[in-house]
Amino acid sequence: MNSGIREQESGVRIQETPDTLKLGNVEFKSRLILGTGKFSDTETMIKAIEASGTELVTVALRRFNPKQPNDDLYRPLAQLKNVTLMPNTSGAMNAKEAVRAAQLGRELSGSSFVKVEIHPNPHHLMPDPIETYAAAKELAADGFIVLPYIPADPVLAKKLEDAGCAAVMPLGAAIGSGGGLSTADMLALIIRDSNIPVIVDAGLRSPSEAAAAMEMGCDAVLVNSAIAAAENPVAMARAFALGVETGYAAHEAGLMPRSDIAVATSPLTSFLK
């Protein structure tokens, strides 16, 4: 989905605030979303968040630990100004567990955002499309701003849009794999037909890949491992911010069309004149 004026199927032109990412009823200037696991310490995580300029971070319910401040990811994040919290359901194996986790997350954080993340196989962490759809539908009906983490499947993406999701978050490659935009062809199809923001989540390794995703027309990217596991997470967070900004600017500027065919000096169709 592009910002600015766009035409819906119905032919109604709707005006959006240019240059903002709108999720539910909330607008964000930054198009970089951060995951909060995998950091070596809270201080690095906070500095990385600040360096990235992000306004939306996701945190796993299973890392909420109200009993022990030292082990709690939620509290330090909640204290950040200008950053919205999005609890996620990582660890849930099915829709039932995800819904329960989402409700607990909303109760504890006061945020209606939820990243629905259901990966029944805890090793490769691939999202379960069937359970994710069921949970997303139920949570959207319950008033959540739902961002489902999904396989790069154009049909599923449209079904989730119809179910009331605020965005879809297809994977670029497996979580933590650094495989980049290995699903690029499918992502292009999802972007082409989506009326809700498309956010590439998982798999990115480098800011250039984030830029490439934005150039393709993604509305935002979500990054965790690539920042947390970098040699210098804070510097990498800044680099990703620049990558996203560059890619978005390039997309808005309109890339020159790609063409393999040289333009003939004597046009083939000159006989028509």
Binding site: F39, M93, A229
Partner: protein
């Protein structure tokens, strides 16, 4: 058991020789296999310990970030009818036996909760009238009221029993085969229910079928040829990944040290061999949590944290209970631990000291990595 099932038998990979080039290939393997593991465990790979460590660290960081997950064991009972030659709880050992009453269990759980733990591992010996299934279920229920993650390391159970424990709040079952080598297994497990190789081998699959989310596997290094046991352990894990695709596995590397009774391991594994094994497993199973307990020394644990290992026990006591008395530690208690523990703890550091070490290595200690919502 005379012959191992075909999915487990490591025989085809046992007598391979590997060249340095083949070790290099194994190090960068995109689809690791038994062949990769055999190469990385071979004598030729000893010269590649440093690049193996670097690869193990990179993979650990990629999949688990700069974190180490912490848990604590609680021994509920030391009664055991088993005849395991290497174990301090074996029935022919002259150690005093203890079992926590349910009131004592509460006290111990409260003490551990106060120490900040969120993941607990409850242990017993083999099934006895003193510590039977009903007792175990009662303990699990109590633990589940206080901890988000409750796991057990006990006697093999039936699928129905595992299901009942899942309903009581147990998320995972750790059960080491000890050795996958049938003759060694028979020699080591001299009498008692544990002498049944197959009963034990099939228990993790029953646990997963019974609704347990995690299965912890391991071989007790030192009992048998480590190459044999490591290959079989890897094959066991891969088999379960295929048959129970929704399950989480963890792999531990317990190493037999001198126990009460002065058992001498027939195939001792050195520190550098143990490190090689850990690195090799990280490379062939990049997304499986690898565990190291307080059996090992501080120096080795500090070195391997984040270098393949991403989950560790801390502040462990291998005697029955013992956490609630913390603070009244004196000479007599320490000598009791020496005489009555299942094995000697080599890393006696407390939670704070251990976490400070992890932080100094730029690793975050994680206590809560699960939620009771997922039960």
């Amino acid at each position: 058991m005379k012959n191992l099932p075909i999915w487990l038998d490591p025989e085809p990979w046992l007598n391979r020789k590997f060249s340095p080039t083949e070790i290099q290939t194994a190090l960068g393997a995109e689809s690791p296999s038994e062949e990769t593991l055999a190469a990385l465990l071979s004598p030729a790979a000893v010269d590649f310990l440093e690049p193996m460590a670097a690869r193990a660290q990179a993979l650990t960081r990629r999949h688990f970030g700069r974190t180490v997950q912490l848990y604590v064991p609680l021994y509920l009972s030391s009664y055991c009818p088993g005849g395991c030659a290497y174990c301090g709880f074996a029935s022919d050992r002259n150690t005093a036996r203890h079992k926590l009453s349910l009131e004592q269990v509460e006290t111990e759980l409260a003490a551990l909760e106060k120490m900040g733990f969120e993941e607990i591992l409850l242990l017993t010996g083999e099934r006895t009238p003193e510590a039977d299934f009903d007792y175990v279920r009662d303990c699990v229920e109590r633990a589940a009221r206080r901890f988000h993650s409750v796991n057990i390391e006990m006697f093999p159970m039936s699928e129905t029993e595992y299901r009942e424990l899942a309903e009581a709040g147990c998320s995972g079952v750790t059960l080491y085969q000890e050795t996958y080598h049938p003759e060694t297994y028979a020699a080591m497990h001299r009498w008692g229910p544990k002498s049944d190789f197959s009963e034990r081998l099939e228990a993790p699959a029953r646990a997963l079928a019974g609704g347990q989310r995690f299965a912890g596997l391991g071989a007790l290094l030192g009992l048998s040829d480590p190459l044999f046991d490591c290959l079989a352990l890897y094959r066991h894990a891969r088999h379960l990944q295929k048959t129970h695709w929704q399950s989480g596995l963890t792999i531990s590397f317990p190493r037999i040290q001198r126990e009460a009774g002065d058992f001498t391991p027939p195939h001792p594994v050195s520190n550098s061999q143990l490190a090689q094994i850990v690195f090799a497993f990280r490379i062939v199973l990049p997304d499986v949590p690898l565990v190291l307990s307080t059996r090992e020394t501080p120096a080795l644990r500090d070195g391997l944290a984040g270098l393949g290992i991403n989950k560790m026990s801390v502040a462990s006591k291998t005697t029955v209970g013992g956490y609630a008395e913390e603070g009244s530690e004196d000479v007599s208690r320490r000598s009791r631990a020496k005489a009555e523990g299942q094995f000697d703890v080599s890393d006696a550091r407390g939670v704070e000291e251990f976490c400070a070490m992890l932080r100094s290595k730029n690793l975050e200690p994680v206590f809560k990595n699960w939620d009771a919502a997922y039960r």
